[in-house]
Structure formats: C-alpha cells, structure tokens
C-alpha cells in the first residue's frame, strides 16, 4: 500500500552546509497492516512520515501510495491523492475557530461534497469517535484526548486508504493514550485502513503494531514483525527501546547466579504460551528444571512468553530436551 524506495532527504541548512535527514530508506507497508516506526528524537521519523504525503518532498527516491507514484504527480493530482491519505498530528492541528462538527466537515468541504451529503457523513464520524455530544464545542473546550478524536474523525472523513499518525499520542496521558490506541486498532480492523505511525514509545508499538522499523540517524537499522524485533533485538538502539517497556527482561537477577545446570532462554508464541510444553518435555527424561525468570504478555493480540530456565541433568538429557523443545516450535537459546 505504501512503498518508499531509496528515499533521501537533504536539508540545506546554510549556503554551504547541509544536513542529511534520511539516507536510502526502503520501506513497504502492506495493505491493512499497522506499521510502526520508532526512533530517538531527531532520528528522522517525522521527516519520513511527512514524505509519504509529500508534505516534505524527498530530495531523492520514489514514493508510491496505493499504486500511484506520488513523486511524479502534478500539483493538482497530488491534491486529489492527498484526499485519500488521512493524517493525524501530535498537536492535533484543529481549526480553533471551528466547532467539532465544522472541523470534521472541513475535509469534506475541501473535497467539494454537497451539504446534503456532508451532514450524514459527519454524524457517522461523530458517532464513530464518540463525540456526538460535543459536536458544537470549540477545540479549546475539549481535552487532549477529545481533540485527537476530532483529528481522527477529520482524517477519516474522505474514506482514506491510508492513515498517517505523527506521534499521535505523545501529548496525552497514559489512559488517554490507551483509548486513542484502541480507537486506531478498531478503525484498522473495521475499515481495513492501512496505518503508518511513528512514535518514540515502545509501548505504542507493542500495543497496536503488526510490524515495526527502528530508525537511527536517518536510516532504518532493523525491521520485522513486532514480536521478532521485540524478542530478539539485534541493533543496540532496538535493545534500548525494548528494555524501556516495563516487563522487559532485565538480567540483573540472574547475573550473579552461578548455575549448576545449563541456563537457556525459551520463547513461547501464540497458543503455545498457555500450554505445559516445557513440563511435558522435561518429564520424559530424568532431568529437572528451575525457572529463574519468566514473563507472559501480549504483543498487540498475540500472546507470548519468555522463560529463563536452568536445566539440571546429564549433558545428553539436556541436549535432548533442547532439541525436542525446538522441534515443537519453541525458540531456545543457550545463555
């Protein structure tokens, strides 16, 4: 649905100085998925997102959205295309002089829809974001979460195929963030809208994304399914982000421990998370095990678990256990 090919962005910062904000970015977002881009401040996330609808025109590369090469469209055609690409912002960017209702109707008026078609559509959108009771309020009379709901309704008004979210929850408190994220998830599920979001919070990625790309200094350093990246981060930046999430696996507790047997880390995914796979496997041998650390949680809607286990038994038995666990689809790594 979104295809970024060799995107480069160079900012001319002075007569002779320039700054490279994006270096050879290649990114493909599939139809119907929620794709997250995470990175530190200044990594180039906003620049990347804004090059998708050409708010920021890349200095090199091709942007394709829904089959159209945006980078080759005329001004007029680009304006038409942008009507099908919704965008929401960290600071909401609502018209301060317009009511909730008028704000949501605004993109419809820009698309030159007749008044008789605008009204029912706005009613529908108000209902969707749960702001029907607030339709005649002005933005300054709303909370941050309500303002972002207006922003979402406005972005969805023209039935976009893609929704771009620039730090949509960064100005909100944790509860409000959760409610906005659930709304985004619901929109994605119900309407099949492809969502590309950027954030600096791993929690946001974990809550809603299917796939993730990690950015650093204008490059994508790692990407994959959220579970893969989360469970086995390769890049140091990724590791930092992963360790930020509350139930991440600190190793302090076992660092000082001198194991008698062999320590392994086991990853469970999906349905296996709830099955007694480890117990059943070990029971068939004379070995025993001790759980040193463990977590069970959810990544978007996929349950996963991680255990650090000490296997005690003869070398042969331990090897067999590890092999059998692997055969049952668990990821086992020796520590």
């Amino acid at each position: 649905m979104i295809d970024l090919i060799d995107i480069e962005k160079v900012y001319q910062t002075g007569k002779k100085s320039s700054f490279i904000a994006l270096r050879g970015i290649n990114l493909k977002v599939e139809k119907g998925e929620i794709f997250g881009v995470i990175g530190r401040s200044g990594a180039g996330k906003s620049t990347l997102l804004r090059s998708v609808n050409l708010l920021e025109r890349p200095t090199g590369g091709t942007v394709i959205v829904g089959g159209d090469k945006l980078t080759e469209l005329t001004e007029k055609a680009l304006q038409e295309k942008r009507k099908r690409i919704g965008m929401i912002f960290q600071h909401f960017n609502l018209l301060t002089t317009a009511t909730v209702r008028e704000n949501i109707a605004f993109p419809l008026r820009i698309a030159k829809l007749g008044g008789s078609r605008i009204k029912p559509r706005v009613d529908e959108l108000l209902e969707l974001v749960g702001l029907t009771a607030y339709q005649h309020h002005y933005p300054k009379q709303l909370s941050g979460g309500q303002k972002q709901r207006v922003g979402i309704a406005r972005a969805l008004a023209n039935d976009p195929e893609v929704l771009l979210c620039d730090e949509a929850t960064s100005a909100l408190d944790p509860q409000t963030t959760d409610s906005i994220l659930s709304l985004l998830k619901e929109i994605n599920r119900r309407m099949g809208i492809t969502i590309l979001l950027i954030t600096h919070e791993m929690g946001v990625i974990r809550a809603v994304c299917d796939r993730v790309a990690v950015m650093d200094h204008g490059r994508i350093v790692e990407s994959g399914t959220v579970l893969d990246v989360f469970l086995s981060p390769r890049d140091s930046v990724t590791r930092e982000f992963v360790s930020e999430v509350s139930d991440a696996f600190g190793s302090e507790a076992i660092d000082a421990y001198r194991a008698q047997g062999r320590m392994v880390r086991i990853h469970f995914r999906g349905g296996q998370t709830y099955e007694p796979v480890l117990y059943e496997t070990v029971r068939r041998t004379d070995a025993t095990f001790a759980i040193l650390q463990g977590t069970v949680s959810k990544m978007k809607d996929v349950p996963y678990g991680q255990l650090i286990v000490e296997l005690r038994g003869s070398d042969g038995e331990v090897d067999r256990i590890i092999e059998e666990l692997g055969q049952q689809g668990l990821e086992v790594s020796r520590l």
């Binding site: 942008r82 965008m87 960017n93 301060t96 002089t97 820009i110 023209n158 771009l164």
Partner: protein, 233 residues
C-alpha cells in the same frame, strides 16, 4: 428675579456655543463619515490583498519568493514613511486622474487609501503570521489548494487579528481625514481649520474635536466587541 438668575446661570455654559452654525457641523460630520466609509472600504480591499500576498511571499510560506517579497516590502515601507500631508500633495496628479479632482471629499479618498492600505497590509501580514502553521499543514495534507488555504484557513483563523487591524486602521483614517482638511478636503478637520484656527473660533474647535473623539470611541468599542464575539481561543 430669582427665575432670571437661575435661567442665566443655567444658560451661561451653553451661550458659549450659541453662535455655532449647526448646519455646518452636520454637513462636515457627514463628509467625514463619507470619507471614512469609502477610504476604509478601499483600504481594506487593497490592503487585505497586499497583506495576503506579502505574507505568502515571505520566508517559509506557501509562495515563498525572496525577490518579490523584498520588492513589495520596500514599496510598503516607502509609502508608510512619507508623512500623510506630504503624500497627499505628492500624489495629486494621480488623484486627479482617477477621481477627476484633487480637492474636496472625493479628492481626499485616493490619498487616504494610498496612505492607509500599506499600513493595513502590514497589520494583515502580522495577523496571518499568528496562525498556527500546523493547521495550514493539516489542510495541505487534506488536499486543500493554496486558494482554499488562504480563504478557509488563514483568513478564518486570523479573523480576530484582522478585525483588530481594521479597527486600528479606521481610527488612523479618522485622523487622516481631519488632516486632509489642509487641502480643502472637507469634513470636520476642514471645519476646525477654517473656523477654529483661522477665525479663532474656540467653540467650533471644541465641538469638532469632541465629535472626532466620539467617532473614534465608537469605532474602537465596536471593534473590541466584534473581536470578543469572534474569539474562540
């Protein structure tokens, strides 16, 4: 007897104004209002256009163009730095070609507009600069054209600033209309000059000044009320 004294005492303050030809005052007031209305109308139209263009050409805006911005900026600054009385005399030939005369109420209007429009344009530029760039960006992302953004975002979001700018310009125009009396422009300023100054008629002077003061008060109060009514921040 007693009655007479009371009457004398009561009439005394008014007798000072008893020689005033109220017809003249009425006519002059009308002329002032006429000059104000038309010059304000044309000033707002021209100044708004000029202000929008200035803003759009400026750094980081939709039609960013350093050369054109510089040129317009210089023209505006020149017009603003010439004192009104001198400007009026300087552009007399121009005035004559467009309204057929360079004196009287009609002849006063072109110089009033030429003097006030650049001033108003700067105020418009400043008001538009106050509009949150994020909102303009959101409209761009929605596929709005530049024209739509000016009309539906910039002018709309800047409306209280624009109303305040019109108020300031109207008040400035009142004092300019008074000055236009110098070349026989008519109106209250003309009256004050001919009677009050040249014939030492303090009474006429006081009345005209009072009327101008009331006019300014009305304009300012109306402007403030409108700003309040339209404010949504």
């Amino acid at each position: 007897m007693t009655n007479g004294i009371v009457k004398m005492a009561g009439a005394a303050p008014f007798s000072f104004f008893s020689d005033i030809q109220w017809n003249d005052i009425f006519k002059a007031s009308n002329e002032t209002l006429y000059m104000l209305a038309f010059s304000l109308l044309f000033t707002v139209i021209l100044g708004l256009l000029l202000g929008i263009v200035l803003f759009l050409f400026s750094e980081g805006q939709l039609l960013q163009n350093r050369a054109l911005y510089g040129l317009l900026s210089v023209i505006v600054n020149v017009l603003r730095s010439v004192p009104f009385v001198i400007l009026m005399i300087l552009i007399m030939p121009f005035t004559k070609t467009i309204v057929g005369t360079s004196i009287g109420v009609k002849g006063a209007i072109p110089p009033l507009v030429v003097a006030a429009a650049p001033f108003f344009a700067r105020l418009v530029e400043t008001s538009l600069r106050e509009v949150d760039k994020g909102v303009v960006e959101a409209a761009t992302a929605m596929g709005a054209s530049k024209g739509m953004i000016v009309l539906h975002v910039l002018l709309r979001e800047a409306r209280t600033g624009l109303i305040a700018a019109i108020t300031i310009t109207a008040v400035t125009l009142v004092s300019y209309t008074a000055m236009s009396g110098v070349i026989g422009g008519g109106g209250l300023g003309d009256l004050a000059l001919r009677f009050g100054y040249q014939r030492f008629r303090l009474d006429v002077m006081i009345v005209t000044v009072a009327l101008l003061l009331i006019l300014v008060q009305i304009l300012q109060t109306a402007g403030d009320m409108l700003v309040k009514a339209f404010s949504r921040r």
